[in-house]
């Protein structure tokens, strides 16, 4: 019976009554209140940042500035780390007598892990920039500006913060959906959160983009973030349409805007460290372990791989694996090594870079043999969209408490990734690549 009432009334009556209450208030106020609030500096800033037309462009410009800052400042530091690891690798392979051990240390540990550790500077600078935006009070405004758009697109305004956190890591992003009151809104936000490009995917973009996109590397990386947002919105719209569970409009919400404040160096650094250290921990555990496994699979059977002067990785277990899966990815222009990287990237996205490192494709020149600009971009997009890492899958299960939604997220991710990569390669082909 109450379902019937809901159906008859919808949510319009609720909004209408709320409006009427504000009308009553607006009739009371002039009778009891004199004087106008003077414009504070905060109000003036809000006039620009929250402006109907300026709000979104300002948001995009700041976001772009954040990325330029991240890459420009971190590039020399990354080069330095890269150089150090390169040198270490040479020293290791020369000074270690045992052939297998030398290969393990030089190709596996230093080659693989080193290629991931190069990303410490961009990741920390990204979090540094995000912390400044957060501490200054702008991030909450960004939520407000984006909410207007999101509401129209069928996403709950409160999804913005989880989505934004997703740029750092999808796990805290998904956990932050707990603040969303309506279960349907919450699950929908969880389903599209993995499309927010987390910091683990950044190494892949920088690695591939830097090698094959030339002067457009930064634009390529930025476009991945935009692509993630656009896809998240499209998927949310699509799911609202076709899955009966999500039918209806998101509920409205009130967001308290904090005062603008000058960010302090101490709290900014603290915020940066809090999030950045997760990357270090991951590098020291999961990625290290994966490195060992991938190295072993790529170095054995020892005799077959090391029969000639140069190691022949194609003859290794990884080679078998890559060649077995490769036909599926051939339409996308990914060779067997790229395929293997995607396969291991299922555990954690940084491992994609790690795998290329172990397979001896750590440098730009080697990568250019595997990818052209179009297939490189397609590979970046595929990495963005397909299966969130293992840990994220675990959290999706825990937060939705449903295998159905968990499996659904994984499956739609892979299908969408293939579709988008195919589209990129197709359009690129028409343009002559």
């Amino acid at each position: 019976m109450s379902e019937k009432i809901k159906e008859l009334l919808g949510e319009e009556a609720e909004v209408l009554l709320a409006e009427k209450r504000y009308e009553v208030i607006s009739r009371i106020l002039p009778k009891v209140l004199k004087g106008k609030k003077p414009l504070t500096r905060s109000d003036l800033l809000d006039k620009a940042f929250l402006n109907k037309y300026l709000g979104i462009p300002v948001f995009l410009a700041l976001w772009w500035a954040l990325f330029r800052f991240t890459f420009d400042v971190s590039a020399p530091l990354s080069d330095l780390i890269d150089m150090v690891f390169g040198r270490l690798g040479e020293i290791a392979s020369m000074s270690i007598q045992n052939e297998q051990l030398a290969s393990f240390v030089a190709d596996g540990l230093i080659g693989g892990l080193g290629s991931v550790l190069v990303f410490i500077p961009p990741i920390f600078f990204l979090f540094f920039g995000l912390a400044i935006l957060e501490d200054s009070g702008y991030l909450a405004r960004a939520a407000f500006v984006v909410d207007r758009v999101m509401y129209k697109l069928g996403l709950h305004g409160k999804s913005f913060i989880p989505m934004l956190l997703g740029f750092g890591c999808n796990i805290p992003g998904i956990m932050a959906t707990r603040t969303i009151d309506k279960e349907e809104d919450r699950i929908l936000t969880i389903l599209v959160n993995p499309l927010m490009s987390c910091s683990a995917r950044l190494p892949v973009y920088v690695f591939i983009g830097g090698a094959v996109l030339g002067g457009y590397a930064a634009a390529g990386v930025y476009s991945m973030y935009i692509l993630g947002i656009v896809l998240a919105v499209l998927m949310a719209l699509l799911f609202r349409r076709i899955i009966p569970y999500f039918k209806g409009k998101p509920s409205a919400f009130i967001l308290e805007l904090p005062m603008y404040a000058m960010p302090t160096l101490r709290s900014t650094l603290a915020h940066m460290w809090e999030r950045g250290v997760l990357f270090l921990k991951k590098a020291g555990t999961i990625i290290l372990l994966a490195t060992v496994v991938i190295w072993a699979l790529s170095a054995y059977p020892w005799g077959a791989v090391h029969s000639g002067d140069e190691p022949l990785i194609e003859a290794s277990y990884v080679g078998f694996l890559g060649h077995a899966i490769e036909p599926i990815f051939r339409p996308l222009g990914f060779d067997w090594r790229a395929t293997v990287a995607l396969f291991f990237g299922f555990v954690a996205k940084e491992i994609v870079v790690d795998t290329f490192g172990v397979l001896g494709l750590g440098g730009a020149e080697e990568l250019q043999q595997v990818f052209n600009p179009v297939t490189g971009l397609a590979f970046m997009a595929f990495t963005l969209i397909y299966i969130p890492c293992l840990a994220t899958i675990g959290v999706i299960y825990r937060e939705t408490n449903s295998w159905k939604w968990t499996v659904f997220t994984v499956v739609y991710g892979v299908v969408l990734a293939y579709f988008v990569a195919f589209l990129i390669v197709g359009i690129g082909g028409m343009l002559g690549y």
Partner: protein, 235 residues
């Protein structure tokens, strides 16, 4: 003993007023079955003991969040003698929204117009007696940070508790069409004494119109639900 509930939007200085009134001594526990904190304290005014319950900070009283449900359930079911609604004087427009909903709940409201100094610094002039007249409830300006207005607040609460039965109930008009519809639903609901014993009928009627999940669950069991369903298509 007088039972008082404190309610207000987040960041209006509610905790400070709670501490000022109770001297900081509070029994802290959880709301039954919930993970939301419940604070209860006491104070004495002219020999009369006042028990003060701190309700969660909310902007509204819908069924959409646990905090809001806890607050409104307490007011409806425990029926405190007085509900002190703490209003941020420097942000009247937003804060009065909750006040209107409290009036609809037919709570015995006393308004503490807090941050009165901030409002004056910002250049506002607030006509306190006019506000009190329009809303039909006592209004006490307070400055929680300096304990300003606390004695006056206690005095007003004690008086409001005594005059509880004489309070005037102000109806908020939603415009002619909606008011008529509310009145119709209200008349239907009044036939069910089990409901009106606990809930104000007009409030229930408004919440039915808002398709409030919890209220729809409550009236589901009532024999008058069919009549309401029949009425709605007339809208």
């Amino acid at each position: 003993m007088i039972k008082v509930a404190l309610i207000g939007n987040p960041n209006v200085g509610k905790s400070l007023i709670f501490n000022n009134l109770t001297g900081g001594k509070a029994h802290v526990g959880n709301w039954p079955g919930k993970t939301v904190e419940k604070k209860v304290g006491k104070c004495v005014y002219k020999g009369v003991e006042i028990e003060i319950v701190d309700l969660p900070g909310t902007y509204s009283l819908t069924a959409n969040s646990i905090d809001e449900l806890i607050a409104r359930d307490y007011i409806v079911k425990e029926k405190p003698d007085v509900v002190v609604d703490i209003v941020d004087a420097s942000n009247l427009e937003r804060n009065l929204y909750l006040t209107l909903q409290l009036l609809e709940l037919e709570a015995n409201v006393v308004i503490a117009l807090n941050k009165f100094d901030v409002a004056e610094d910002l250049g506002y002039e607030i006509n306190v007696s006019e506000l009190s007249k329009l809303l039909g409830v006592p209004v006490v300006p307070t400055v929680a940070t300096t304990q300003g207005g606390m004695e006056k607040l206690k005095e007003t609460v004690a008086r409001a508790a005594k005059e509880k039965s004489r309070r005037r109930i102000i109806e908020i008009s939603y415009g002619k069409k909606i008011d008529e519809l509310i009145a119709k639903i209200e008349r239907i609901l009044q036939k069910d004494e089990n409901l009106t014993k606990i809930y104000p009928a007009r409030w229930l009627a408004i919440k039915v119109l808002e398709a409030d999940d919890e209220v729809l669950k409550i009236i589901e069991k009532s024999p008058c639900v069919q009549e309401i369903v029949n009425l709605l298509p007339e809208m």
